[in-house]
Subunit: 252 residues, 2 copies
């Protein structure tokens, strides 16, 4: 049986995240419908991660098995024809039968965009957090540097009954950059807990406001207490940016 | 009486252009309503240009007279509070009483964005033309260079009864740039005829398709015949980017 890996890009403003829900529109639902129209079957889709309502993806990976022999390039064009304009399949490739978009994933990179100016930017209205008070990227980087490494991120995680196992994650990158009025926080890790990037971001905003000092981040991590970290930043600034797999797992 | 000059930025996707119309929502209407809420009077707004439905503006200028003494900075914040999220006032300044956003305008720059890739870009879905076939920026620049100078642009203008006077305009810049898959055509002139930028763009697309050779542009200009130029490119790729005034006219 063929196992296909799709790479998507979507503007999540209109969606209640990736995962199918009974009473709300999700990206998985529109992709399932488009694939059903093309393949005349309903494949079981494995997404690389859950995403919250309003969160975007520059890259989101989905794998599924199919008996159909449609060539990858034709599948991309055909599926895009049935998808709404805010979702696009960018690539399709055949992967080994055991590959799974979520379980095979070795890491991800997210970015969080902040429009840091007194006047809002109409073109970023559902694509960045609008934050008025001037952000000092150096100070935020001082705090973000403490995120890097293997830590228990309980303090940076929304309680979620679905979450089982270890709360230890290894952050390999945590960086703040300013380009004009646009401030971007990039964070890469081997995995992320529920709301983790939004809480990492909200904590940086508390650092900006002087409510938390950069050097307090290690204590907050050590305390494993959600109430010590900053608030959960709103979803519209968040983008899943890259998804990492091992080359060996992608090839038969 | 104070004369105020507002600088706006708007995502035009939801609007039928700038100018108030009886049966469609326009940017002028939402600005008028917001100003009425703030000033408790209905100022007579002068926009720097007409814009078509679906066209955007990184910069759009509006002037109006008012008796109100509200400081400029407070006006910006208050008006933005009443505007929808796809329109923002970025600046307000006091200008001499004779200043008029349209008649005082000495020139404008537009950009036209083309997403040139086989797969569409969800984040540019109402903000660029999606064009599949590979565009050669050098060839387009060869054609665009012929737009520069003082010419009669009748061939590049939609017939419009409102248009009176000369069809001669002086184009000071006409340039195509590629950054990755995004191709941007920038054009500046002392003034533009109805649909002129969209027809200049559509003609470049005909050049890309080999239907018009770059060296034919001078003949098309000389013929003063709309049927010889390319089609009118769709509105979603067009942005009013800059509006030029003489410094002397901006100061009392």
């Amino acid at each position: 049986m063929r196992n296909l890996l799709l790479t998507l890009c979507f503007d999540g403003a209109a969606y209640h995240g990736w995962q199918v829900q009974p009473n709300a529109l999700t990206v998985q639902e529109v992709l399932q419908n488009a694939l059903k129209s093309v393949l005349q079957e309903e494949p079981d889709l494995k997404g690389c991660s859950r995403t919250d309502a309003g969160v975007h993806a520059h890259m989101f990976c989905v794998s599924f098995h199919t008996q159909r022999q449609i060539p990858c390039e034709r599948l991309v064009n055909a599926v895009n024809h049935f998808l709404p304009p805010d979702v696009a399949v960018q690539n399709c490739r055949e992967v080994p039968e055991a590959f799974h978009a979520r379980y095979s994933c070795r890491g991800k990179q997210y970015i969080y965009q902040i429009w840091n100016a007194s006047v809002r930017e109409p073109f970023l209205r559902s694509r960045a957090l609008h934050y008025w008070y001037s952000l000092d990227a150096d100070k935020l980087n001082e705090a973000a540097a403490h995120y890097v490494g293997s830590h228990d991120f309980t303090s940076f995680c929304t309680q979620d009954k679905r979450e089982i196992g270890s709360f230890v994650r290894t952050v390999t990158q945590a960086q703040v950059k300013r380009e004009g009025s646009l401030v971007t926080f990039s964070v890469a890790a081997d995995g992320f807990l529920y709301n983790m990037v939004r809480i990492l971001t909200g904590t940086l905003l508390y650092v900006a406001q002087g409510k938390i000092a950069p050097q307090q981040i290690p204590e907050i991590l050590a305390a494993k207490d959600r109430s010590l970290a900053g608030p959960t930043a709103p979803p519209q600034g968040l983008y899943l940016n890259r998804v990492f797999y091992e080359e060996a797992e992608l090839h038969a």
